[in-house]
């Protein structure tokens, strides 16, 4: 659809020029948007989604492919840019996983071949702690299973070039793999989060302040090593959670790695 997206800075809530004049968003990269509540995180995403033309609230301008104004992409649902994944999302249809996926592929004009249904399930099962089978009912999937299926679906079926993640819980899903699957699907991944682990996944952090982009932080090698440490701590917590759930007594010999 396009190679990159360029945000031309506008103004903050006090109508002062935004500190960042230009920001490229590239496919295959994760961008974390951070900032206190009310600092303009949702507004920035809104500007991207509606491809602001410089006349909106923030006066930001969104261009594609090194400077083309994307007139033709504005406004229709089929051409929308952002798919959403959020912590509150549920599956609500009373159908089996396999029947839903088949119907979904048909509606969204993908060839209805059994292969891609299987691929979605395979991806989802890579992420989920508990295996998802095709005959399971959508509404009875666990939180982790649902999230895994949503991520796999967006990565494989998603027709939009941008994926927005609005927090994802850490229970029952391999988040590092999830991020990798999303990035490998050649999308721009935006993450809005207050969670340190999730925030550090971003190659770049977009810092919002008073309605404006105030800073861009590139993840440094130290932060990357911190991410890996946090990730292994997270894995230990997961194992302990699992063991507790299974009714085990925790012993020194369990080697939780602490």
């Amino acid at each position: 659809m396009f190679k990159n997206l360029l945000i031309i800075g506008g103004q903050d809530k006090n109508e002062n020029r935004e500190l960042i004049g230009e920001l490229y968003l590239e496919k295959g990269k994760i961008y974390t948007i951070v900032g206190p509540t009310g600092s303009g995180k949702t507004q920035l995403i809104e500007d991207i989604e509606c491809l602001s033309d410089g006349f909106g609230l923030t006066k930001r301008k969104i261009l594609i492919d090194d400077g083309i104004s994307p007139q033709h992409l504005r406004s229709s649902y089929q051409n929308r840019l952002v798919s959403h994944l959020s912590q509150n999302m549920h599956f609500i249809l009373d159908m089996s996983v396999i029947n839903f996926l088949k119907m979904r592929l048909k509606c969204t004009n993908f060839p209805d071949d059994i292969k891609s249904v299987e691929k979605i399930l395979e991806y989802a099962n890579e992420l989920s702690g508990e295996k998802i089978l095709g005959h399971f009912s959508l509404t009875t999937l666990s939180g982790g299973q649902s999230r895994a299926l949503m991520i796999a679906d967006v990565a494989i079926n998603g027709t939009t070039p941008i994926i927005l993640i609005d927090e994802i819980e850490n229970a029952g899903i391999d988040r590092l793999r999830a991020m990798k699957i999303l990035v490998d699907s050649d999308k721009i991944v935006l993450v809005v989060t207050h969670d340190p682990l999730l925030a550090l996944y971003g190659h770049k952090r977009i810092v919002m302040k008073n309605g404006g982009i105030s800073k861009i932080i590139n993840r440094n090698p130290y932060e990357l090593s911190l991410l890996k440490q946090l990730h292994s701590i997270n894995k230990v917590t997961e194992t302990i959670r699992d063991d507790l759930r299974r009714g085990k007594q925790l012993e020194k010999e369990c080697f939780y790695g602490l």
Binding site: E46, S83, H90, C107
Partner: protein, 236 residues
Amino acid sequence: MKLVIAAGPPASGKTSILFKTIKYLKGFNAKIAVAKLDCLTSDDERVYEALNIPVITGLSENLCPDHFLAINIIEIFNWAKKSGADYLIVETAGLCNRCAPFIDRALNICLIDCLSSIKVPKKLGPIVTTSDIILISKVDMVSQAEREVFVYNLIQLNPTAQILEVNGLSGFGSQRVGNIILNSPSYDSIDGDILRHSMPSATCSYCVGEIRIGGMYQQGIINKMDFSKGSDFSYV
């Protein structure tokens, strides 16, 4: 004056998204008036008042709110004009699936809650088929995959409407809705305009106050159920 009619089932998120949209429009110095039509009671007036705009509430009581709108819309339009507004937004409940409150020249927005409507999109009647814009609310609650299937179904019902997803809590989508309103046509008067959908009227004796049940009290259009079609199981 620009006229926007926003209709949708109770608690589908109309006020939440309109509130955010009006906030956005106020940034363009738009002078907005809001009329809220409901059946029995409504607290929305107080919500909108916080925006420092003229607000009025109309209660339809024992009438369907869509009929009530058709009866009162010209007066509401004149009220908004008199208050100096250049935008009139009417928020109205869409309760019965047989009627729709839309006026031919207005910007007609139908709001549906994807949590409750996704299962039976076919049940959504003229409110969906005659609208210009369909807003899908509470998109934060339902998976992207199911929403895409839902949108596919909505496109079958109304192929010309513009479909947008909104979140009344974060305000996501309000800027796009606002831009559509900013670009909608403006009218001096709506006299002589027509409804998009002809509404079924009060046609049986119960519509006009009859309370006794039984064949001898029934007059007008009587639509009896067909009992030959139920399931085959019986206790006798």
